[in-house]
């Protein structure tokens, strides 16, 4: 048995961006053979990350997008012109040899190209076909288009991130592209597990806005049970903790330019521990002694605490509070958590891959370790068509001459 957990699996991968590519990254890092299918006519630019910054140097083009490399490590990349009959035939041969077809086009795009689940099932009865799009394949908004921030807006996640009486702050990145990818990988793995035990394949319709709406937890039950909306005066105030009710709980300024730290007291004991560090008269005020009083005077409490933190260096304040048993953390800047954090370095979280054109580049690793079949991230994302010949010859048995002819005909 190979030490790669998923090395018995092959994925026919139409995904792109992060919401799709992030899902097959997990599978590839754990050993599955993931074959990205890209369009030679549009040079793979449906996945806009192929040519988007960041870049390692001054070189530009479809093989130099830093985000693309990050999300597509350990995958193979081939080009197939699916507008041509021959291109579709080759795709069908790949599908016959694949366990999973994964895609995150807008709803219905693949079906229009003759690549629906119904068609794929004729090629391979037990195929698993997972579709991931913004609003799913049914419902009034099925034809609407999204990207991460739009999913977050509609599914309530933008609204629930912000300070009171201001516009929403939202998420400063595509949290739902990440999470959509995790949910998509979960769906693929669940369907594979079902197939492993029953031999049955299936189609999965994943809507990223549905997935986003599952992430509000008890707030939605507060609405359906108690009729309390999150849109009400003073709400949301998302650095605070209404449930569980905690105070102080927030993000406070530290000395220096745009330096911040998080502090949370989960009990009166932690509050008293904080008082032992802060040592100012206000921490002994009776109104702050118990949780109810701290909650009632939270604005004043936050203002006092911010006055104390503002003059202190972030790391020193966090260290003093932690040593006293108070939950505290720096609002870490990228350099701090990537290059100066023993808990990420020690975890091996930033592996270096070798990319055929970019050279050595660091990427996001996986935040887990398996005792027997751990992940491996060594090869960079594929350049456009980098593995076309390799896949067509080794998987489909074509000759190099056949591939050259297909190339000349514009099929690959």
């Amino acid at each position: 048995m190979s030490a790669n957990a998923l090395s018995h699996l092959r994925i026919c991968d139409f995904t792109g961006q992060l919401a799709g590519a992030g899902a097959t990254k997990w599978l590839a890092a754990l050993g599955a053979e993931v074959i990205r299918i890209e369009d030679p006519v549009k040079q793979g630019t449906w996945d806009i990350l192929r040519m988007m910054p960041p870049f390692v140097d001054e070189r530009r083009g479809v093989d130099f997008g830093g985000g693309f490399n990050n999300h597509n490590v350990e995958k193979l990349g081939i080009t197939l012109n699916l507008r041509t009959e021959k291109g579709r035939e080759l795709l069908y041969e790949i599908v016959k040899r694949s366990d999973v077809v994964a895609e995150n086009f807008a709803a219905g795009v693949l079906a229009k190209m003759g690549l629906s689940y119904e068609r794929m099932k004729q090629l391979r009865a037990d195929v698993i076909y997972v579709s991931n799009c913004g609003f799913g394949h049914t419902g009034p908004y099925a034809s609407f288009k999204t990207w991460g921030p739009i999913v977050q807006a509609v599914s309530g996640l933008t609204f629930t991130s912000g300070l009171p009486e201001r516009e929403p702050a939202g998420w400063g990145y595509s949290f739902m592209d990440h999470t959509g990818a995790y949910v998509m990988a979960t769906a693929i793995l669940m369907a594979l597990l079902h197939r492993q035990r029953t031999g049955e394949g299936q189609w999965v319709d994943l809507s990223c806005t549905d997935a986003g709406l599952t992430l509000h937890g008890p707030a939605l039950l507060d609405w359906t049970v108690n009729g309390r909306p999150t849109r009400r005066p003073g709400s949301p105030h998302s650095n605070r903790s209404e449930y569980p009710a905690l105070a102080p709980h927030g993000i406070y300024p530290a000395a220096g330019d745009d330096e911040w730290l998080a502090i949370a007291c989960r009990s009166d004991a932690e509050w008293r521990a904080l008082g032992g560090v802060v040592k100012e008269p206000w921490v002994r005020e009776a109104r702050f002694a118990a949780l109810a009083g701290r909650l009632a005077a939270q604005d004043a409490l936050d203002a006092q605490l911010a006055r104390w933190t503002r003059g202190r260096e972030k790391a020193a304040a966090v260290a003093a509070l932690s040593a006293a048993g108070v939950p505290a953390a720096p609002v870490a800047k990228p350099a701090e958590r990537v290059d100066h954090d023993p808990a990420t370095a020690g975890f091996g979280l930033w592996p270096t891959v070798r990319h055929s054109k970019m050279g050595e580049v660091r990427v996001d690793g996986l935040p887990v370790h398996f005792s027997k079949t751990d992940w491996q991230i060594e090869r960079g994302g594929p350049c456009l068509g980098e593995h076309t010949e390799q896949v067509l010859t080794s998987l489909l048995g074509l000759s190099q001459g056949d591939v050259a002819k297909l190339r000349a005909e514009g099929v690959v």
């Binding site: 998923l6 997990w26 754990l30 960041p54 830093g66 490399n69 913004g134 739009i150 977050q152 807006a153 599914s155 996640l157 609204f159 991130s161 516009e167 929403p168 990145y173 949290f175 592209d177 990440h178 995790y182 669940m190 369907a191 597990l193 492993q196 029953t198 299936q202 809507s207 549905d210 997935a211 709406l213 992430l215 937890g217 008890p218 039950l221 609405w223 359906t224 049970v225 998302s238 569980p244 009710a245 927030g250 993000i251 911040w260 998080a262 505290a328 870490a332 800047k333 990228p334 958590r337 023993p342 808990a343 990420t344 975890f347 580049v361 990427v363 935040p367 370790h369 398996f370 005792s371």
Partner: protein, 412 residues
Amino acid sequence: MTALQGIRVVELSHERGAFAGKLLADMGADVIVAEPPEGSALRRWGPFVDDRPDPEQSLAWWHYNTSKRGVVLDLDTAEGRAGFGRLVACADLVLECEDPGRLAALGLDYADLARPELIWVSITPFGRAQPGRADLATDLTVLAAGGPVWSCGYDDHSLPPVRGLGFQGYSTACHFAVMSALTALLWRGASGEGQFVDVSMHAAANVTTEMGSYCYLVAGTTVQRQTGRHALETLSMPSQVRCADGRYVNTGVPPRQPKEFAGLLRWLHELGIAEDFPEAVFLELGAKRDFVDLSKIGLDDEITAIFGAGRQALEFVATRLSAYDFFVGAQRTGMPVGVIYAPEEAFEDLHFVARGFQTPVEHPELGRTVRYPGAPYRFEKTPWRISRRAPRLGEHTDEVFGELPRGTSFPR
């Protein structure tokens, strides 16, 4: 048939990992959640039914423990420890979130209880072997130290960065825990072998920051938070607009293609407000072109004006319509924009209602049916389902231990 039918999971109840157990339970795994005699800490979290604190009426407990069975185990007693051992002896998978060292001290860790085929997923703040005060980690500190908070907030950097609500530090780690559990189950199906999986919440947050991490990894640059849009190295144009009804929309990516300029112009005419928008003439010019070369923005006056008019037109329409009408109207003209919904507004929206997202769950003791958030994915053959409301404290202790092979006495 469910996807995870017959897979038995033993979960030690903890707020950090309850969502992972729910994800498995709602797909059909037999998840047995073990609580201490005083009940899980989640039962003391609000909100509560009718705002009356009661460990059986915590909506946080309800939400995160659907489809599970519940047993009471006091790990501080020999009987309770023996009971845990009996449960684990019959489990496929253990899911626990105890601080490193606690289970080992009790003689109840993976090393103590492992059988060759057992899978054990541990979720801890920093991983089992990394430095850091696990006992002081909260959702807020995980998201602050792990990177997400740095990227979220407002253009005005005198305001603190923002943590989004919903315990997303926990949910992200839980998604990885579930992907890990399923991957380990698949490998066990192929090899017969179980294993231990170490999930780090801190690492999970660190690889869920999109450009926050990879701009630094690739180019050494630091992203800066911006109101309602992606954190980037440089300031981008605003993308949130306040509509006529006072609510916000995300205007997404501005129009770039001739057909988008044409659609926007048509929409202005349909609304009867084209006359009020002097720059409409540039939309017309954009619509007439074969191609709008965005690389000429700032160099070519007409292209600059066309691109600017597209962005302004979207903002102009937004101020004339309600947020919802803007969302639907813009999407119907082909532009990916989003209404910024509060969670309860999305929950009641016709699209999510039509997809059956609202999930009725019976609460017989209360004589009422409660609407819960629904499925993150639609499986064609093995549907997601809430099979029962969250267990009452110790509800299934007799039932579960009655099913186990005879051995150690019943735990109290």
